[in-house]
């Protein structure tokens, strides 16, 4: 039990996908224009990660070695399409905001990476916990990055405007701000959280 709990908590600091493993940079940079967008993208990825980890750990023993990558990709793509359809149906506005980056969850290296490194070698429950931990760590990083960019760039947080309608520094909502913010957040992470 404590082992599984550790699998979940590892995803936050020790194996944090964004700050330590440096995986899945594209959605991290592109969708974090606000805290809520970052959170939604994180949750969509979490959903795919947990389900694909479960299915892949279940089918891994019967998949022939040479075709395991295509087989895993098909499984992942199925869950991504499922998320796509569900979001289109129930959160159409968010689907439009995140746009291209929902189908691109397929090529998010975190998911195939966890499938290869963990799910294909471990049991279903452990894999689910691993997916949950890494997914939550990813969600957490994206929400933090989104919140920082939203605060600096639009002067609001989760849509609540604390600058009284004044504009923030717009560059932080745009592309350059994404790179610079993530760079500095990584510096802070290295300085205070990472154990050398």
């Amino acid at each position: 039990m404590s082992n599984r709990f550790k699998l979940i908590t590892d995803g936050f600091v020790k194996n944090n996908p964004t700050f330590v493993l440096i995986l899945g940079m594209c959605p991290t940079l592109a969708t974090t224009t606000s805290a809520i967008n970052g959170l939604s993208m994180g949750l969509a990825t979490l959903f795919v990660l947990v389900l694909s980890n479960i299915v892949i750990s279940a089918i891994a023993p019967v998949v022939p070695d040479k075709v395991h990558i295509p087989a895993y990709i098909v499984v992942i793509a199925t869950f991504v399409t499922l998320v796509q359809l569900l979001m289109q149906a129930f959160t159409p506005a968010m689907y439009e905001t995140l746009g291209l980056f929902i189908p691109l969850i397929v090529v998010n290296c975190i998911i195939l990476g966890r499938a290869e490194a963990f799910a294909s070698k471990n049991g279903v429950l452990d894999s689910a916990c691993d997916g949950l931990g890494v997914g939550l760590g990813f969600t957490c990083s994206l929400t933090v990055l989104g919140a920082v960019r939203e605060m600096l760039g639009s002067g609001s947080i989760f849509g609540w405007n604390f600058l009284g309608g004044n504009d923030g520094m717009l560059a932080f909502v745009m592309a350059p701000g994404a790179f610079i913010c993530l760079g500095y957040l990584m510096v802070l992470f290295n300085k205070f959280l990472k154990k050398s």
Binding site: P61, P64, D65, T81, P92
Partner: protein, 186 residues
């Protein structure tokens, strides 16, 4: 660990995975089809009720490739909502423009845009910019931004977006004229 690969089990495994996944997705597609259509319809209805005076029913029509909606209340036409597209700063900009029966603009709403966040994207949130379209009478105002000698207040630092928005409204009013002409011929 994984099974040793040979041609037969590789083909079998991939076919099985593909079949199961496609079947699963076909099922999901069938289940989500009606909610997706309902969501798209709700979006159109929301923008229609924002740009038109109170109405009981609408009818969608196409005129020269432009889609417009005729709103009817108690058997009388109370206004038209016209979809009007143009090119903004970052890409296509599509508006829904509501025109009252007397030919004045009732209200406008953005259907889709690619404008810069915090600048051009304010065309969906800037109260002053949005309010000036309500009740605008095209016979009394010049439809271009003040910088170009017109009567429209542009969004600060977003002249190109404001010009595009103005162009889209003007385009919708042209369509309105055509609709009226078509009706008087009948």
């Amino acid at each position: 660990m994984a099974v040793k690969s040979n041609l037969k089990n590789m083909a079998l495994c991939l076919t099985a995975v593909c079949l199961v996944c496609s079947a699963l997705l076909a099922g999901a597609y069938a289940l989500t089809k009606s909610p997706i259509e309902a969501a798209a319809k709700a979006k159109t209805e929301k923008s229609l009720s924002a740009v038109l005076p109170a109405f009981q029913s609408v009818e969608a029509t196409e005129l020269d490739g432009v889609r417009y909606y005729t709103a009817v209340k108690d058997g009388e036409t109370v206004g038209y909502a016209i979809e009007s597209g143009t090119i903004g700063f970052g890409g296509p900009l599509t508006l829904m423009v509501g025109v009252s029966a007397d030919g004045t603009v009732y209200n406008t709403s953005v259907l889709s845009h690619n404008e810069t966040p915090g600048l051009g994207a304010k065309c969906t949130s800037d109260k002053k910019f949005m309010a000036q379209w309500q009740g605008l009478d095209p016979a009394q105002k010049i439809l271009s931004v003040k910088k170009d000698g017109g009567d429209i207040d542009a969004i600060t630092a977003s002249t190109i977006t404001s010009r595009a928005y103005t162009r889209a409204v003007a385009g919708a009013l042209d369509v309105y004229k055509k609709i009226k002409e078509g009706e008087s011929h009948e």
